[in-house]
């Protein structure tokens, strides 16, 4: 059936935009999370919303699932393809269509990278605020799907706070527009973060922010992670909202050092990166307070970036941390969980206990300001049993987060990787309600199926006219 579909796809797309060669298809078998792999049935590289709509309509006609993919950097397997379906890749849709500085907005195609937006408006004194660590390559379409954050979302919010309107292709193949001015339900809000289950964004109107008058970045080194944690609580407790507060532990520092020679202070058990931005007078005042708090919390060395280059040097270590761990471990799992800030010390102590119990190393990198943890669980896949133990540790960390009133994901999404943890966090009723929303958009359950929810709810249970056989019936024959 896929072969027939591929033929039909070639009728609506240029030949070279439809990939069917098995060797080529396999290069799309996973995104940034390599743990889950599936070779897509066929890959298409559309260049317009109309082409995507045509592809989706064909998927409906053939009753074949489709998955959208941007740059393939996601860390929850949200773009994991279906071997019985179509992978719709937006990497050729990378035009910035309009920049409207007086109204502080830009309209871009989904394949445009996050950083490309900032680069296009930087000289005019603007930027696009959400900044995932993969910002130089992650696509804005993917950011919309995952409601991506980044180091600076503590002060400025997530993708959902910076998208003003969307053009999207619904799972029925219609092209519709959603804006923040729409009456009725907040459909724009529902769509952002829906991980590709409600349709595919084809045009994104983003908010451009004025670059702050002053940015000050400080790196404080602590002997222990507790010292850093105390400083974080005191800074927020003092009523200061920094643009970012990031923490890295000794193992994460070691990895970053090996990768990019970031030259963080020697002997640090933890480093804290605090960035303050805003009007110069305000930043100066807050900076003095932050510096004092860090010293009181036991920081033994404080560095302040004196130039944009020095600021970039401080951030380089943090932003490369995930991939840098590849230098100190053959394999690793990037975890993403959230805990209330006040519970940070307890959760970190719990992670320490897990390390000892299972003999698995965990490097900690986190957005400390909003309690978003990114534990990196290290293992050697050549050693029998280590992968499974690492998986267990990774899962137990999420249990810790839930126990302390947190969440199983801060910004990487649920995808395929965490769907099984959803019932730990939500009741059956919660999940059923969420699925009803999903069914309203995608009654045929074809748009990125198998993601977010542990078991698919059958949309046939909602009173409506059903097309085709009942899913149970289909299984019988």
């Amino acid at each position: 059936m896929i072969a027939t579909l591929a033929q039909r796809l070639k009728a609506v797309l240029p030949d070279q935009a439809v990939i069917t060669d098995p060797v080529r298809l396999r290069t799309y078998e996973c995104d940034g999370l390599t743990y889950h792999r599936a070779t897509p049935g066929v890959v298409v590289l559309p260049e317009s919303a109309e082409e995507i709509a045509a592809v989706v309509r064909l998927c409906q006609e053939f009753q074949v699932p489709f998955v959208a993919r941007g740059s393939g950097t996601g860390l929850s397997g949200g773009a994991l393809p279906r071997s019985d379906g179509v992978l719709i890749v937006t990497s050729r849709m990378r035009r910035i269509l309009d920049i409207d500085l007086p109204n502080r907005r830009a309209v871009v195609e989904p394949g445009v990278t996050n950083l490309a937006i900032t680069e296009a408006v930087r000289d005019a004194g603007y930027y696009y605020a959400p900044d995932p660590s993969s910002q130089q390559i992650c696509s804005i379409g993917g950011n919309v799907a995952e409601n991506s954050g980044g180091a600076h979302c503590l002060k400025y919010g997530f993708t959902v706070n910076h998208v003003l309107a969307l053009e999207l292709v619904t799972p029925d193949g219609d092209i519709v527009e959603l804006t923040e001015l729409d009456d009725g339900y907040d459909l724009l809000g529902a769509f952002i973060g829906s991980e590709g289950t409600l349709g595919i964004a084809t045009k994104i109107t983003v908010r451009l922010s004025r670059a702050p008058e002053t940015v000050t970045t400080l790196l404080a080194a602590f002997a222990t992670i507790e010292g850093g944690g105390t400083a974080v609580s005191s800074i927020i407790g003092a009523g200061i909202v920094p643009a970012a507060i990031e923490m890295m532990d000794a193992l994460a520092i070691e990895a970053a050092e090996a990768a990019v020679r970031c030259e963080y202070p020697a002997g640090a058990g933890a480093v804290l990166i605090v960035e303050l931005d805003g009007p110069t007078a305000e930043v100066a005042r807050q900076f003095a307070a932050v510096e004092r708090i860090c010293r009181e919390a036991g920081s033994f060395e404080i560095r302040v970036a004196a130039s944009a280059e020095e600021r970039a040097a401080i951030w380089r270590g943090r932003k490369s941390a995930f991939a840098a761990v590849g230098r100190i471990s053959p394999a690793y799992i990037v975890q993403d969980g959230v805990v209330p800030r006040t519970a940070l010390p307890e959760v970190l102590a719990g992670i320490d206990r897990l390390q000892e119990e299972f003999g698995i190393r965990v490097a900690n990198v986190f957005h400390a300001g909003d309690g978003n943890l990114h534990p990196l669980v290290l293992f050697d896949d050549a050693e029998p049993g280590q992968g499974e133990r690492a998986e267990t540790v990774s899962g137990r960390i999420l249990d810790l987060c839930i126990e302390h009133g947190g969440s199983i994901t801060g910004e990487h999404g649920v995808g395929v990787d965490k769907s099984r943890y959803m019932p730990r966090m939500f009741t059956d009723d919660d999940l059923a309600t969420m699925q009803l929303v999903r069914c309203a958009f995608d009654p045929g359950y074809l748009s990125n199926p198998g993601k977010i929810f542990p078991t698919p709810r059958l949309c046939g249970e909602v009173p409506r006219v059903r097309k085709g056989p009942h899913p149970h019936e289909a299984e019988l024959f």
């Binding site: 060797v23 590289l45 050729r92 990278t113 590849g326």
Partner: protein
């Protein structure tokens, strides 16, 4: 192929935006991450299909991905091993084989290159006809610059002023034949900075062209090492980025031959800009009222990590101001033999680079690699405009030291 090197890739995708072919086509299998995935498939037992070979051939080998990679993947080594594998296993079309035969029988041999300069030049009038015969022949005709007067370099140039070092100078194949002025400028600058410059006659080709295309370059490497050993120099200074990059890897190349491995390890190679900055300036710089754009050659910036030094040298010239070229880390499409074997993407990248260079509004483009110079000049000619003059860092320094105008 080395499975261990493949495993270093964690599939993060940070390499994608720096890859010229990904920038052009937006396809996973024409990105470094995708190509490593293909290598992995092959190591796991998938036969090398023509499609696979096509994606490896399409890689420029610019090494921008090596700079971008946070996990330290040795893509440079991986693609070199892969290219050798492609040459062993993949059967090329007869026409393609013939073109490759011509290039590898010609370019690494300065004497043959010299003999053929005239016919190639005549060929430029028949560009349309040659392109029809084979696009690579058309590209060759388009790239060839007007004939330069041959310059015979002396065997030895003595240091001016107090002696500070004795260096060897690699004259290169394309550099020596098409841009002899760069070699004379290099020798003069080195001498004026207090170096005795030795220029062995029998040095031959450094092997870069072969090595970067998956052919055995060991005999070239040995000949170069032997020639400079006989010359008795401390350091070999190279003014062509591609050559320098290959020569810095001689030790790795000859690692399996103990005697040669030791000799290669003792062989000290420096790019001209790198060497001059390490040495420190003593000669007087005369002002040059010029606005220049500096072009990062991939084999200098990415393969050798030499970015700051040429800029520092240029900034040391009074009156001269430097403009940066947008997208400076993206290859111009020259990439050794790439613009001959893959003329179409090379042309697209060349046009892109030429437009970015034009946007700087500079009077002069400074480029430290002969291939880039040919490529960018051809792209500007193609756009139907007067190409902005292109000079090597050595020529700009030479002009400043002599107090003359830059002769590009």
């Amino acid at each position: 192929m080395d499975a261990e090197l493949i495993k270093d890739c964690v599939h993060c995708g940070f390499c994608l935006p720096t890859c010229p072919t990904y920038v052009l086509w937006g396809e996973e299998m024409d990105s470094p991450r995708g190509r490593i995935h293909l290598m992995d498939q092959h190591v796991q037992g998938t036969p090398l299909t023509p499609e696979m070979a096509g994606h490896f051939d399409a890689c420029l080998g610019c090494m921008a991905c090596v700079t971008a990679c946070p996990s330290g993947v040795r893509y440079d080594r991986l693609i070199e091993l892969t290219r050798a594998e492609v040459e062993r296993e993949h059967v090329r079309q007869p026409q393609e084989r013939a073109i490759r035969g011509i290039v590898f029988a010609l370019f690494p041999y300065p004497r043959r290159l010299r003999l053929l300069k005239l016919p190639i030049r005549l060929g430029s009038r028949m560009k349309t006809f040659l392109t029809r015969v084979h696009p690579s022949l058309g590209a060759m005709a388009e790239l060839t610059p007007p004939p330069a007067r041959r310059v015979r370099l002396p065997r030895r140039v003595a240091a001016r002023g107090p002696h500070r070092a004795t260096v060897g100078l690699l004259t290169g194949c394309v550099q020596g034949e098409f841009f002899p002025g760069v070699n004379t400028a290099t020798a003069r600058v080195l001498a004026m900075e207090g170096c005795d410059v030795v220029i062995p006659k029998d040095q031959g080709c450094c092997g870069a062209l072969s090595l970067h295309s998956g052919y055995d370059g060991r005999k070239f490497a040995k000949r170069v090492i032997a020639a400079f050993e006989r010359a008795g120099v401390d350091t070999v200074v190279v003014n062509a980025a591609g050559c320098g990059a290959a020569m810095k890897e001689y030790a790795e190349l000859l690692a399996d031959e103990p005697e040669w491995a030791a000799r290669a390890a003792a062989f000290k190679v420096r790019d001209l800009a790198e060497f001059l900055v390490e040495l420190g300036p003593v000669a007087k710089r005369h002002p040059l009222e010029l606005t220049v754009a500096y072009h990062d050659a991939c084999h200098l910036a990415h393969a050798q990590g030499v970015r700051a030094q040429p800029r520092e040298l240029l900034r040391g010239i009074p009156g001269l101001s430097i403009r940066e070229v947008a997208e400076s880390s993206i290859c111009c499409g020259s990439a050794g033999t790439y613009n001959l074997f893959q003329p179409e993407p090379a042309r697209e990248l060349g046009d892109r680079k030429a437009a970015r260079v034009r946007d700087t509004g500079a009077d002069l483009l400074v480029s430290a690699n002969p291939g880039c110079t040919l490529q960018i000049t051809a792209a500007m000619r193609r756009a139907g405009e007067q190409p902005i003059p292109v000079a090597h860092t050595a020529q700009v320094l030479d002009a400043s030291l002599l107090g003359r105008r830059v002769v590009a």
